[in-house]
């Protein structure tokens, strides 16, 4: 490479390093991460720094109230035992949608995925035997998280997403229960907000929000940001008399009342 090309390349590299790239970012201002809201509405406020398009989604969080059930039924016909009917089954935990919910049925198997027996092939001595495996999967059931007993510390643990703690023990919540598995379902569909200035805000109020656990997720070019917020029923009002303390002593107040009544 000629000397001129080397100098030009060095200058271009130096210039590129001098130009500070503008990093766009998005922060969730509201709800505050791990906040507990006693209201029937939820404020979503996202601060976007720099020219950026962000996608904002609100999820309602559900917990696994009933685990999935995985049953297998195996029917096989052996060479010396005649027709055999071997059923075996057990509850195996499954996760996600990796397991097909459609049982493998043979043509003469009853519909509905119930365990079935079938045989195929001949049962003459020496002939190869076949197996029919029926798989029955009962999906896990999820229920909305009851946020009534959730604390800010619980929300931190949920946000961390770890099922085991540092000692390898299951993470527990403040009420002593083991932290269940959670699943997010879209509560407010994704909204795309475009910011064209240095700082811009996306703000929206979700009204008539039922008590529960909610998650706000913001996807931007710099990554994904999420935060959890627990929405609870409004607690009982504090005693009105506890808000405003008595400003004057009883004796002084009595004297004031007497003077006031004299000059009324």
């Amino acid at each position: 490479m000629s000397r001129f090309m080397r100098v030009a390349a060095a200058l271009i590299i130096a210039l590129s390093l001098c130009i500070s790239p503008v990093f766009a970012a998005a922060d969730i201002v509201s709800p505050v991460a791990g906040s507990v809201v006693e209201s029937d509405s939820l404020l979503v406020s996202v601060k976007v720094t720099g020219a950026e398009k962000v996608d904002i989604t609100v999820y309602r969080v559900y917990y696994e109230s009933s685990p999935a059930v995985y049953e297998t039924t195996v029917a096989a016909i052996g060479p010396s035992e005649g027709d055999l009917d071997i059923s075996s089954g057990g509850a195996l935990e499954v996760s996600g949608a990796a397991i097909s919910t459609e049982p493998a049925l043979e043509e003469n198997a009853p519909a509905g995925g119930s365990p079935s027996q079938s045989s195929s092939g001949g049962n003459a001595e020496g002939e190869a035997q076949s197996e029919t495996i029926t798989i029955l999967v009962k999906e896990a059931e999820y229920s909305p998280v009851d946020a009534e007993d959730l604390t800010a510390e619980d929300l931190e643990k949920i946000a961390a997403g770890n099922s085991l703690d540092e000692d390898g023990m299951p993470v527990t919540l403040s009420d002593g229960s083991v932290m269940p598995k959670y699943s997010d379902r879209v509560y407010a569909s994704t909204v795309r907000y475009t910011n064209e200035s240095e700082i811009g805000f996306y703000t929206k109020q979700l009204s008539s929000v039922k008590p529960g656990l909610y998650k706000v997720t913001v996807k931007s070019s710099s990554g994904t940001t999420s935060c959890y917020a627990a929405v609870k029923e409004k607690q009982a009002e504090p005693e009105k008399s506890n808000i405003f303390t008595t400003q004057k002593s009883g004796a002084l107040q009595f004297l004031r009342n007497v003077l006031r009544s004299l000059f009324r």
């Binding site: 201002v29 509201s30 809201v37 006693e38 209201s39 029937d40 509405s41 404020l43 406020s45 601060k47 720094t49 200035s197 240095e198 700082i199 811009g200 805000f201 703000t203 929206k204 109020q205 409004k234 009002e237 504090p238 009105k240 808000i243 405003f244 400003q247 004031r256 006031r260 009324r264």
Partner: protein
Amino acid sequence: MAVIVVLFMSTILLLYLLWTPQGGVDFAGLIGRRGRTASLPEAKGLIQAGFAVSGNGSGSFTRSEDTDGDIQEAAMAELEGFLAQSYVESASISREQYELAMSGWPSVRISYDAELPFSAFCAICSPESALSIRDDVMMKTLSFSEAAADSVFVTDAEGNTQRFVFGEARDSVELLLSQFGDDSVPCYAAKDLLGHGDAMLALTGESGLRRISASNESADSDFGTDAARGIFGDTFSFVRRMVDSFGNITYMYGYGDKNLYLYTDGGTAYSASEEGALQTGFAEDLDTALGFAAVCGGLSEDEWGGMRLTGYSESGSRIKTRVFEFSQTAGGRAVFGAKGPALRITVTGGSVTELAREGLKYSAGSADELRQTISPANVIANNSHHIYNVLHGSVLAAASDEAFEYAAGETESLTLGYFADPLQGGAELIPCWVLRSRSGVRFYFDLYEGTPLGYSD
């Protein structure tokens, strides 16, 4: 012969009395028309809410601009009801106590453009009340809460709150909440929306406000003469009239004892070197100010349109100096210019010492179809550098976050209004967000685009 002499002398006398400094005879003076119509607006109608916030007791708030004045009228009626009682005591409460009373129970708070003495406000609401209200309490916000149905809360511009406890409870909150109409929108504290600040900001906005053409009130050829006659009265004949090379007119009495200036840009100003020596109250000085403004250009509905008190300050101990600022209104919204409100009057010791006036004539007309405005959050965010530089007086650019946090913290209120953009012979009233800072500076931003239009002290 005698008849001829008498007629001649009468003619000379009439010419002396009716001759105008401009030359010519003022026949209108024959029928006693001196100055403008002196019809005065009522003090009660001048004090209008900037905005009102209702709380449902569950942490949710809505906000109304109260353009029809229903909430303000109901609040004054409730205060009048309290003042009709025979007992009141007051105590200072903390900010936390006040916020809990406003958020934990159904509540209504009414925020005013001008900070007024609460005792003067009570006297306006209920002149016959026998209750003695402290003179040292200033009112920027008047609040009611079901946390204390026997009380009203008075907050000054610095955020200090006094609770006035009366003898009997009233259903004030329920009645006031019923006045919030369909124009109410959700609102939140700035710290919830932006992460910083205390102002109660509307979440979003829709508006049908449109631009309005206006002409200077002084474009009327008789305006200057009528104003001069009204101010100088019987001494008008001894007033000198001077016109400079730009066309600005000065009426001077004595050796500058009293001066009236009529500027070619439509502005009017008055100054008097002699101050009064009376110990006057708020109501007296307000009447004095209004009476003076009425003869200096008129304040009647057809001459001035609606008006409201948008600024007030006082100084002095025994002899008070009070400055009143009035804005014209269009569709219930205050109109501001680059110099602030249209009328500013200073009263010292019971006498007017200064007046600055720049009124406009316009027809508000009907509103357009509703469309989305720029949100208050983005008004502050998009213009934070502008706000920072103006308030700091700095030409150097601050870091974005520093400017934004400063602007959010300095915002006292954000309301709808009009900005009078000067044009030849008049102005164009542009719908705008009026951002008032804690230091009293007003910023004006286009209602739909959010671009800065100007600012005034």
